[in-house]
């Protein structure tokens, strides 16, 4: 795994590289500033598999650098891990909003580093596998990528879009009190299977991105996170204090999707139909198993759909 580690403190960087080497990660390139990191990304012949960025740096900080890296071609879904001391925890929201996948805390904790980079390595391998599969199927570079029905689809281009893994990591980073201020809302595309079977993986990916765009447009505030779980299921994290907006969210989403009806008709495609679940409150137990909150929100949306069918 080719790692780019960025930190303006040479002592930290040297210790970190030494720790990574002990953990078996020996292909590490270092940069002492955001400028140097961007130059390395620009001039490197092969893309880095993972970037690890310090948050507090002079001039361009780690969060700004994260957003800038995300804008670079080929770096839309490269894992980006933020490195932070505990007092920086208030910056974590901004880091995830800028596209971070996970975070590590300073000082170096070897067990934490091993565990988090282990997950990152799995992501990198999965990314490589998807690329290889796409190349062996002769997919053209300009064509939309093709997805399996249960595959996760990158949401980085969507305002508030985030990977499911990054959403789980964000939930883990919240303390109990902040967690209580967040709700999760599931959105289930009820005819997802039908669209996938009729249109194939590439068009299905585009349709899910259309749905994600509508979800994002329905939530006109910056503090939102939208992740796609696969199988036509989305989950959104919203501030609880926006309860009024959340209540009208389902109705508005249906209206926004309906605006696509003519385009879909012209393309002879089925319009995605959605069911929105009730807001699921984040509880302390979810901080240890954030996937549970995501599953509960999605189940609530699916249950809502079953209820609508039964009562129709």
């Amino acid at each position: 795994m080719r790692i780019l580690a960025v930190d303006d403190d040479p002592d930290y960087l040297a210790l970190f590289v030494e720790t990574l080497s002990r953990l078996g990660y020996s292909d590490v390139t270092t940069a002492l500033s955001a400028r140097q990191a961007l130059d390395l990304i620009q001039t490197s012949q092969t893309d880095f598999d993972c970037c690890i960025l310090d948050i507090q740096m002079p001039e361009t900080n780690g969060i700004e650098l994260c957003a800038e890296i995300r804008r670079r071609a080929g770096y839309g879904d490269v894992p980006i891990v933020m490195n932070t001391v505990l007092s920086d925890k208030s910056s974590i929201d901004d880091a995830f909003a800028a596209g971070a996948t996970d975070y590590l805390t300073k000082p170096i904790d070897e067990i934490e580093t091993r565990s988090r980079l282990g997950v990152v390595q799995l992501l990198v391998q999965e990314r490589l596998r998807a690329r290889t599969a796409s190349a062996s199927h002769g997919t053209q570079v300009s064509a939309s990528p093709s997805y399996g029905f249960h595959d996760s689809i990158p949401m980085k281009r969507i305002d508030g879009g985030i990977d499911v893994l990054a959403m789980e990591n964000y939930l883990k980073a919240l303390g109990v009190f902040r967690a209580l201020s967040v709700v999760a809302v599931g959105v289930h595309v009820t005819n997802a299977r039908e669209i996938y079977d009729m249109e194939g993986g590439a068009v299905f990916g585009d349709v899910m991105l259309d749905v994600a765009t509508c979800i994002s447009d329905c939530l006109p505030f910056p503090a939102k996170m939208i992740a796609y779980k696969g199988g036509g299921d989305f989950v959104c994290l919203l501030p609880k204090r926006r309860e009024r907006d959340n209540a009208s969210f389902g109705v508005q989403l249906l209206e926004y999707i309906a605006e696509f009806e003519r385009i879909y008709d012209d393309l002879h495609m089925r319009l995605p139909m959605v069911s929105v679940g009730p807001a699921t409150t984040c509880r302390a137990v979810h901080l240890h198993t954030p996937s549970r909150l995501i599953e509960e929100a999605i189940s609530a949306a699916q249950e809502n759909y079953r209820h609508e069918v039964n009562s129709a």
Binding site: D9, P10, D11, Y12, A14, L15, E18, S21, R22, G24, S26, D27, Q56, P58, V85, L86, S87, K106, P107, I108
Partner: protein, 124 residues
């Protein structure tokens, strides 16, 4: 690119020896920089004492504390790391003279701890 270190097993005594040498070098450089950081923080704190709170100066102190907090514990200076982390968090909250008056004793403890570390482990 071929990495000779990767050829060595991580439990190999030669690899362990190499690691220890690297850590000793990092520790040496950290202690050298710590002297400069201590002098700079003292100067910055005196400047605030004389002329009042200036956020840029507070942030410069915080930056030093932040860097020490990120590394000290890994190099075996646990108390220094904890004090630096506390100072870092405290400096982040400073918004006026009252906050500074409350934060100043904490910074003083950090500076004393740095002096104690340097007295015991001064680089030669």
């Amino acid at each position: 690119m071929h990495d000779p270190a990767a050829d060595l097993s991580r439990s190999d005594p030669l690899f362990q020896n190499q690691v220890q040498t690297q850590v000793a070098q990092i520790r040496h450089r950290f202690l050298e920089r710590l002297t400069d950081r201590c002098l700079d923080m003292e100067m910055l704190a005196n400047s605030i004492d004389r002329t009042g709170v200036d956020i840029a100066t507070v942030m410069a102190i915080r930056q030093h504390a932040h860097k020490i907090a990120g590394v000290a514990a890994t190099l075996g200076f646990d108390r220094l790391g904890a004090l630096a982390a506390e100072t870092d968090a405290c400096m982040a909250r400073i918004d006026g003279q009252t906050d500074w008056t409350a934060a100043r004793p904490l910074l003083e403890s950090l500076l004393l701890e740095i002096e104690s570390v340097l007295e015991t482990h001064a680089p030669v």
